[in-house]
């Protein structure tokens, strides 16, 4: 029963899910506003409880707790991952009804809120999962919630196609992952990845077959992280889904998948004589390819959401770089990087929504000359893009420096050539990324447009205010990053 004490946030999330769900049933179509308030209020309680876990952990021995027979693991790292997820979930919950397309949905948005809450529960478990079973179940929980969200607005062929693609691709990759998990179980005879026998048995099994099993599991994780070559679904789905859903997809599951990945890697790295599968090589190669493919492909995009989709692939590659260090400061850098990336990316998508709401602009071309008519959101767009590109003074720059520092420190110790290659690729792709990031200010400010699109009367002061707040955060975290620096130990 000890475990329940550490499981409070998740219990509250479960209750919250039922509460939102029932409210929706009782009040029917008009319940959107109430459900949203309940969800946000509930999440605030969850955040409080998650913070409380820090206190609980400092009292427990070793700073770690294992729940439900080693199914879940809770350390400071997991707590911070959960915090980031919850904060972003609140931002996305706020953001959902500000999108014109979603708000016009005939079913109302109450269902969507309950799905988001359920997915946050899945994300929490995903971050903590250290058992092959809990890993699989949590990933499926998040996947199913995501399928529903992507297909939530299926009024046009594009969105239907996006939903369908996502479900098919997701189902296949989770099946492949399950196959890999069953192989791992077969080789090791254990589901608990922290179990000593799990790694020991794997290390004495045939390395080729073990590598195959691990690669199969990577397919499942890669689908969530959207690294190359598991990224094919990303552009279509990000473009087809409603923009707040894109904001959700491009941030939350990705963050949780990094948390899961870290936990999955830990036993292999800490096991001294592990040689069957070179994770560092794997991560480096995948990271380099992901950075190059994501950033290069983004250059040719004209649709803003598609452009941001490819840029988010590039960011995954960059974060993988820090993961390849297998070190505390690498994890610390990942946390900061993901937080900054996620906030900026949500901000960029909010701006996409804003311009769609205002002037129906989906493409770069329709951004022509808009900057001079809407100076405030356009300047915010520039600030947010600077952060995504990683130029000073912005949070993204500090995040980039932190990632580089963490990689460099490990490189300095082991002189692994792959880490150097990662750093150089990271620097080179930063320049490449500027090619497309700068396109948006280019169209906003530099290009002239004689015939303006008609303004829509629809105004969202809240959307603009939150965009400004995000830009402000990006700047403040750029000048004083220590306020947002997360001490792991």
């Amino acid at each position: 029963m000890d475990s329940l004490g550490y499981f409070m946030p998740e219990l509250i999330l479960s209750v919250l899910f039922i509460l939102v769900f029932v409210t929706d049933l009782i009040f029917g179509k008009t319940s959107g506003r109430i459900c949203r308030s309940i969800s946000i209020g509930g999440l605030l309680v969850v955040i409080y409880k998650v913070l409380w876990q820090l206190v609980l952990l400092s009292n427990s021995k070793g700073g770690a707790a294992y729940l439900f027979g080693e199914m879940l693991q809770l350390r400071r790292t997991e707590v911070f991952f959960k915090l980031i997820i919850d904060v972003l979930a609140i931002i996305i919950l706020l953001y959902v009804p500000w999108d014109k397309a979603l708000r016009a949905h005939f079913k109302g948005l109450a269902d969507l809120y309950s799905i988001i809450i359920a997915s946050v529960l899945g994300l929490h478990i995903m971050v903590m999962a250290v058992n092959l079973l809990s890993i699989y179940v949590s990933i499926e929980m998040v996947s199913i919630a995501s399928y529903l969200m992507v297909a939530y607005r299926s009024d046009t062929p594009v969105t239907t196609e996006a939903g369908m693609k996502y479900v098919l691709f997701g189902a296949v990759s989770s099946a492949i992952m399950l196959y890999g998990i069953s192989l791992l179980y077969g080789f090791s005879g254990s589901l608990d990845i922290n179990d000593a026998t799990f790694i020991h048995n794997l290390s004495i099994a045939n390395p080729v077959s073990v590598s195959l099993a691990i690669v199969l599991v990577m397919v499942g994780i890669g689908f969530k992280l959207s690294f190359v070559p598991m990224h094919f679904w990303v552009p279509d789905v990000y473009q087809g889904a409603a923009t707040p859903i894109t904001a959700y997809l491009s941030t939350l599951p990705k963050i949780a998948a990094f948390g899961l990945f870290i936990n999955f890697l830990t036993p292999f790295i800490s096991y001294g004589t592990w040689s069957a599968f070179d994770f560092r090589l794997f991560l480096s190669v995948i990271g380099i390819i992901t950075m190059i493919v994501g950033n290069l492909a983004a250059i040719w995009q004209t649709n803003i959401k598609r452009l941001l989709a490819y840029s988010s692939i590039g960011h995954t590659g960059f974060a993988l770089m820090a993961l390849a260090t297998f070190s505390q400061q690498g994890v610390s850098a990942i946390l900061f990087y993901l937080l900054v990336y996620a906030v900026a990316n949500v901000g960029a998508l909010m701006l996409t929504s804003y311009f769609v709401n205002k002037i129906g602009a989906h493409d770069l071309d329709s951004y022509k000359g808009v900057g001079l008519r809407y100076p405030l959101p356009s300047v915010c767009f520039v600030i947010i893009l600077i952060s995504l590109a990683g130029l000073p003074i912005s949070a993204g720059f500090n995040a980039k420096v932190m990632v580089f520092s963490s990689v460099y420190q490990i490189y300095d110790i082991n002189h692994n050539i792959w880490l150097l290659a990662l750093m150089i690729t990271g620097a080179a792709t930063t320049v490449i990324s500027l090619f497309y990031y700068i396109k948006i200010p280019l169209y906003l400010f530099l290009k002239r447009n004689e015939h303006h699109a008609e303004d829509q009367l629809l105004t969202h002061q809240y959307l603009l205010i939150s965009i400004c707040l995000i830009s402000l955060f990006v700047l403040i975290a750029g000048i004083f990053p220590q306020f947002f620096n997360i001490p792991i130990n």
């Binding site: 400061q329 720059f397 460099y408 700068i438 530099l446 990053p481 220590q482």
Partner: protein
């Protein structure tokens, strides 16, 4: 409050005021910006007058000898297991930076004066202008590498918009090219910066540090660290310190610009509005030269000494290639842009000579070119704003039509081609004396440098002959004749100080040399010892 901090950040205050005022107050924006730059000039002059000279104030590799220092803890990032990342807000000046600070303050005032021609989006323009001003001043004052890098990168974005929104026909292309070129250099500089950070420890605290002055002391490097002098680490089969030097050198060489990396400059200059051209040529190029002296030479002195031949070669190539290109140009602004490439080559030549004369010449050339290129671009802007044409062959016999204008053109041209009595003569003469006396570069380089002066005389005089002598004939006919009015009061007000300054420096070079001498000597000694 520290005087340097005030100098750096005072424009931000005016920028915020401009942003808060309604967009209609154009004139107020102009005067506020002018006032901000004049205030900066005032502070710089005060700094210049109160700058102490003497061997005890040489600066360079000696932290205690910097003046007007302010050092605050700024960013302390927890890096998990490996301690904290400590970044200081650390500003200070020595002889090398004080003189460039003063020069850039003067140029910014001139740029502000020439901003009167800006005719759209005043609010955005002046806000960006002041942001750029902050970044430029910050670069010359920073002694912390991280801070330096932030100011260095901060220059890019305002410039991108200033060229891109207020520029000429091909402004988008020019702005992006400029941005990407510079970013390409600086991103890799970031990697070297991180590497240096983890190589250097502050002896006082035992922590890693971004402090540039500490990076100059070989004793502060960890044994076995990548950039440690004694650790002899290799990167791609080349000594790591050489790689670090090359990366930093390329980053700054793009800014200078040195010849293989110069192609952004003609485009950016041609498309930029006059005030931005003035800032680009007057100040931005010097950031490159300053970076080479302060960072490349300061942190990797032994590599610089060994590579002096290549630095000198690049300098000579820039001098000749820039001059020959200038000869071939029809567009007056392009001609001046290439003459900048040529003249900045002398900076490299002087640096490569590793002599006190050469280094002083390089510094003098930066100051002198700052004033002269501002003057030249201002003068081109004067014609362009009147008839929107810059083709040399569209004009003939302007001398009789625009007498005042021609006087200033003659001063600027003759000063630039190195006529004795003007600053450029002193600068080029010292660079060449240094090159002739140098033990690190061969004599033929000095000879080629002299040929460069000859070439610059050719293109300037030929342009003078084509555009200003003979009967008045204009491509635009009578319409142009009406449009081409002689200099107005504001224009004369901007040009007179520049003309006087270059004359003053030509007659009394001690105005510069007195301030930089100790630092230059200290720098030369510092390099030779290693």
């Amino acid at each position: 409050m520290n005087i340097l901090t005030l100098l750096i950040f005072s424009p931000i205050l005016f920028g915020l005021i401009i942003l808060m005022l309604p967009a209609g107050y154009r004139n107020i924006f102009r005067y506020l910006t002018l006032f901000a730059t004049l205030l900066q000039l005032g502070i710089s002059i005060w700094l210049y007058l109160n700058f102490k000279t003497g061997a005890a104030y040489a600066g360079v590799a000696n932290e205690g000898q910097y003046q007007f220092v302010e050092k605050l803890h700024w960013i302390g990032l927890n890096l998990g297991g490996m301690g904290r990342m400590q970044i200081d807000y650390f500003v200070g000046v020595d002889g090398i930076s004080i003189i460039l600070l003063l020069m850039s303050s003067v140029v910014m005032v001139i740029a502000a004066l020439s901003s009167w021609e800006i005719n759209k989006n005043h609010k955005g323009y002046f806000a960006l202008f002041l942001l750029l001003d902050v970044a430029i001043t910050g670069v010359f004052c920073s002694l912390d590498f991280f801070l330096f890098y932030i100011f260095y990168e901060l220059m890019l974005l305002p410039l991108y918009f200033l060229i891109g929104i207020w520029g000429g026909v091909r402004r988008e292309y020019a702005a992006i090219k400029f941005f990407l070129y510079t970013l390409f250099g600086s991103v890799f500089m970031l990697l070297v910066m991180v590497g240096l950070y983890f190589s250097v420890k502050d002896p006082a605290t035992g922590n890693h540090t971004f402090n540039m002055v500490q990076m100059m002391n070989p004793a502060n490097y960890d044994s076995g660290s990548i950039f440690g002098i004694l650790s002899h680490r290799l990167l791609f089969g080349i000594p790591a310190r050489t790689v670090g030097f090359i990366v930093l050198f390329i980053a700054f060489a793009i800014k200078v610009p040195v010849v293989p990396f110069h192609t952004w400059l003609p485009d950016a200059h041609v498309e930029a509005p006059t005030p931005v051209s003035i800032i680009l040529a007057g100040v931005l190029l010097k950031v490159g030269g300053y970076g080479i002296i302060r960072i490349c030479l300061g942190i990797f002195p032994e590599v610089a000494l060994n590579g002096a031949f290549w630095i000198g070669l690049l300098g000579v190539v820039s001098i000749l290639y820039g001059a020959l290109n200038a000869l071939a140009q029809r567009d007056l602004k392009r001609l001046i842009a290439f003459s900048s490439v040529s003249h900045m080559g002398f900076v490299l030549l002087g640096i490569a000579s590793n002599t006190a004369e050469g280094m002083s010449g390089a510094m003098m050339q930066m100051v002198s070119h700052g004033f002269l290129s501002s003057m030249l671009f201002y003068l081109v802007g004067v014609i362009y704003i009147r008839v929107h044409d810059r083709d040399i062959y569209s004009f003939r016999g302007l001398g009789t039509m625009l007498p005042k204008y021609t006087v200033f053109i003659m001063i600027a041209f003759f000063a630039s081609l190195g006529l004795p009595g003007f600053s450029a003569f002193i600068a080029e003469a010292f660079s060449l004396i240094g090159a002739f006396n140098s033990k690190t570069i061969p004599v033929w380089m000095a000879v080629c440098g002299s040929v460069g002066i000859l070439l610059s005389a050719t293109y300037f005089l030929w342009t003078l002959q084509r555009m200003f002598f003979g009967d008045t004939r204009l491509k635009g006919g009578d319409a142009w004749k009406l449009a081409l009015t002689d200099l107005g009061k504001r224009e004369i007000l901007a040009l007179v100080p520049l003309a006087l300054l270059t004359l003053a420096l030509g007659i009394m070079p001690s105005l510069v040399f007195d301030k930089i001498n100790d630092s230059v000597l200290a720098l030369i000694q510092f390099i030779q010892v290693k």
